[in-house]
Symmetry: C2
Amino acid sequence: MADDKNSRPARSAGHRALPKSEATRQKIIEAAAAVLAERGYAGTKLSDIGARAGMQAGSLYYHFDDRDDIVDQVLQRSIRGVYERVRGAVEALPPNSGELVCLQTAISEHLTVILESSDVSSAALRLLGQLPPESQRKYRNDQRTYGDYWHDIIVAGQASGSIRGDIDPVRLRLFIIGQLNWVSEWPKSAIDSRENVHREAMALIMGGVTGPVG
Amino acid sequence: MADDKNSRPARSAGHRALPKSEATRQKIIEAAAAVLAERGYAGTKLSDIGARAGMQAGSLYYHFDDRDDIVDQVLQRSIRGVYERVRGAVEALPPNSGELVCLQTAISEHLTVILESSDVSSAALRLLGQLPPESQRKYRNDQRTYGDYWHDIIVAGQASGSIRGDIDPVRLRLFIIGQLNWVSEWPKSAIDSRENVHREAMALIMGGVTGPVG
DNA sequence: GTCTATACGACGATAGAC
DNA sequence: GTCTATCGTCGTATAGAC
């Protein structure tokens, strides 16, 4: 649990929210996410990250320990970022909203994150599978936390009857999230407007291909 | 269009279907697919492929021109393989089967391929996105052929009213195929039996989370 | 903080023995 | 057909100037 970098900057007295070094870290992480998303884990070279962040490869070592440290930050932020966004959206619902509304909100927000940050947030999704197995373990907890959050919504919905009960809740979640995640692989030409993607995704997940009335 | 390897072996007179060299090619391609699926494009080393195929890295060059040639074969077989399987299944239906049945058959067969060859066939799906953009062009045709096949089914179904018409047919296809493709990313623990996955995927895609009767 | 230069290892690819 | 040995290249990481 040695973690000297995440609470940076630990300087004398906090005054500004984004000191220069932190802003640069941000820029590097975003650059790395972009490269990771399009080249994959092993295909991401420090020179690419540096180029996109406007500096030389060697300069990255001032801000990060090594290559994996950068990848690490991208993944952490992505996974936790999606979770916080979705949880925030669901918790913003009026109290006693039905489970179906919670599910719809989670779907909508998850999709929003994918559509708006097609780099930073969707990079993680495609990356987890290509990491060396040991590295994957580090993110299992964050992944499971997010999965559990969905799981609870789905199970509650099935108990109340608002969500069909003849599909295993784990697989139901995996089907839904998988369908949404794959949007990050779409050709850009298929996304004419985010509104359409949202509306149609919701319509399909809710009512299926035969439509809301069977 | 120089393509001297694909029609191998071009030996004196055909006698056996699988001469040794062709069998070895097969084994290498399968090994490569396995490594590609778990390490990604750039993460796949010739030494890994060789190890899994039971030979040294240098020996691979007897069967293939270079690294990209191997990746190429994996992708070609995967994309075309799924297409042929799905088309075969749909064409095996009794004539004048409804479009909805065609769609269901396509879904079922696509999922079957993913579940049974979680290496060879699913490797391609995740790979296309991480290839250097120039390389991607080579597979666009095969991809489009497969997409068009689904497209025709969906459009016909929408015309006849058996498939809801309020979702863009291109996105409807992408949603469905994406949901199925993502199954290759599932933790193995989520697949207790292929039958269950099939049944539930079909139920969800057909009727949505609210169930077949709304 | 960022640069250039360099040490070092890893991987793709080739050559030649068997 | 497959092996071992080797070369060349590229990418990570470090060192030290600015």
